[in-house]
Amino acid sequence: MTEAKVGLSPAQRKLRVFLRNRAAVAGAVLVILLVVVAVAAPWLAPHDPVRQSAANRLKPPGTENYLLGTDRFGRDTLSRVVWGARVSLQVGVASVLLGMAIGVPAGIIAGYKGGRTDQVLMRAVDVALSFPTLVLGLIIVALLGSGVWKMILAIALVNAPQFARVARGPTIALRDAEFVQAARALGTSDLRIMFRHVLPNVMPDIITVSSLWVASAIRTEANLSFLGLGVAPPTPSWGNMVREGIDFLGRAPWLAIAPAAAIFLTILAFNMLGDGLRDIADPRTRGE
């Protein structure tokens, strides 16, 4: 270790590792930008995303007032892409939080209790994980109906088993840790040990991979919307915009390409950020 680094606190050292990873910084900047776009959509979007205008149908990009052109109803593509960021981020973040709220306690209980509880819970996780996410998502959306909040619940349920699996591993390691044994010796209840002592120690692992999960949730949302099972038109979501754009690939390719690019960049940004966060937590994976 060089002399300059000796005086750094662990947090400063972590920040330094993160800042040195250019991809992670680029990912973070993109994610912040996306959040700003989503929050400021009403002010940033030049037009009402759902207002139709028969006079301005299928205008190419660059037309006056319509930077990214218009669709077959004369709706402004740029405004729809900007508003679409709201749906994607909302679904991505909320479904991960909800999935954690369901999966993490299940994983901690399985890991802490061990024995039969563990076997039953983890068998259920294995079964749920063996079905393609997309197929499970499809069925749960069909079960719940469409709409933003229902889709959030569907994606959270599909992902919860994964969170359970990630929470279980460190819990098993913590179960016999000295501070947990001490708590047990003091007569602390299992429930209190699990949530006051184990949970805070499991969370860093969970938070580290949460960015990657947001990326995957946004992907699932785009898939479901593309299949017409997500957010109902005319509300713009990137997935349903691509679907509508497919019929115009020859005449108006921007209709599919603009939202497709938005989906790709958003998932890429969360993945880059996620890789960087994982490198901080686990120096062994650095550069892999």
Partner: protein
């Protein structure tokens, strides 16, 4: 070997049973009256009742459950509630298309991904390594339908090299491959990204082991060290990964089929979903479960081919 396969097959029975139970109840809690969905709102009460009777929808749930298990055990996937045709026939027609597409995708992924991952690992921290890693990350981030749309726009709409709609089969082999090419490339490129990433990290992991140094010390030529000693051992995690992503891959195949309008499981799933065709939906999920189990078994057997230390009896 045979005993091992038999033992593995027996071990899948409890898993399979859990999966079937899961499917049965999942399909049952989907709201909506299938009789109404199929006969329409205008159907008379008697007609609805007759339909439910016919389909056994009025029987108690346990009766339906055991009938379902018994049917599956006999290899009977039932008849579609909507079309009245045996589900098995529809499935047998659709499945080859999906399997062909998925298989071609894996093939492209391995053929491109392993050399790229190897190259990336050999030239660690060079510009080539950075480039391959950046492209891999992009590949991991692109949903299949997005890549499908882009490839379709470039190669079908703009250049006109491939058909816009993939009918899935052609008059001769060349035409057949032309139909398959773009959908397979979509899956293949995504798979390449996964394979390259795992190959690289597993190769780097292996490359620092003592036996590699030993091989070099005894004068083995470098290309032979890389291929015979390092790569062969580095491939085990790659096989595991391909097996683990089988479900994801099947899901991506379904999305790709939809973009290219290609026949396959996608049509059956989306159709059964929108028509609330319980029996068809149930059977499709059963088939997915079976596919996943079979792919896992194949993955396990593949280990033995790559690593002779792994013995099966």
């Amino acid at each position: 070997m045979h005993r091992y396969v038999l033992r593995r097959l027996l071990a899948t029975i409890p898993t399979l049973w859990l999966m079937l139970t899961f499917v049965f109840f999942l399909v049952r809690i989907v709201p909506g009256d299938p009789a109404m969905a199929i006969l329409g709102d205008s159907a008379s009460a008697e007609a609805l009742e007759r339909f439910r009777q016919q389909m056994g929808l009025n029987d108690p749930l346990p009766v339906q459950y055991f009938r379902f298990l018994a049917d599956i055990a006999r290899g009977n996937l039932g008849t579609s509630m909507v079309t009245g045709l045996p589900v098995k026939d529809q499935l047998m027609r659709a499945l080859p298309y999906t399997l062909e597409l998925t298989g071609a995708g894996v093939l492209i992924g391995v053929v491109l991904g392993v050399p790229l991952g190897l190259l990336s690992g050999l030239k660690q921290n060079s510009w080539l390594d950075y480039l391959i890693r950046a492209v891999s990350l992009a590949g991991l981030s692109v949903p299949a339908f997005v890549l499908a749309v882009v490839l379709m726009m470039v190669f079908s709409v703009q250049l006109g090299w491939f058909p816009v709609i993939s009918s899935g089969s052609g008059a001769n082999l060349v035409e057949h491959l032309r139909q398959l090419f773009l959908p397979a490339l979509t899956l293949g490129l995504i798979m390449t990204a996964y394979v390259a990433r795992v190959t690289r990290s597993s190769f780097l992991n292996v490359f620092h082991h003592d036996y590699i140094r030993t091989a070099r010390a005894k004068g083995v030529a470098e290309p032979r060290v890389v291929v015979k000693h390092a790569l062969k051992n580095a491939l085990i995690p790659v096989i595991t990964m391909v097996g683990l992503y089988a479900g994801v891959l099947l899901g991506s195949s379904v999305m790709t089929e939809i973009v290219f309008n290609r026949p396959g499981l996608s049509g059956l799933i989306v159709g059964a979903m929108s028509r609330r065709d319980y029996t068809a939906l149930q059977s499709l999920l059963v088939v997915f479960a079976l596919l996943v189990v079979v792919i896992n078994l194949i993955t396990d057997l593949m280990y033995g081919l790559v690593d002779p230390r792994i013995r099966y009896d």
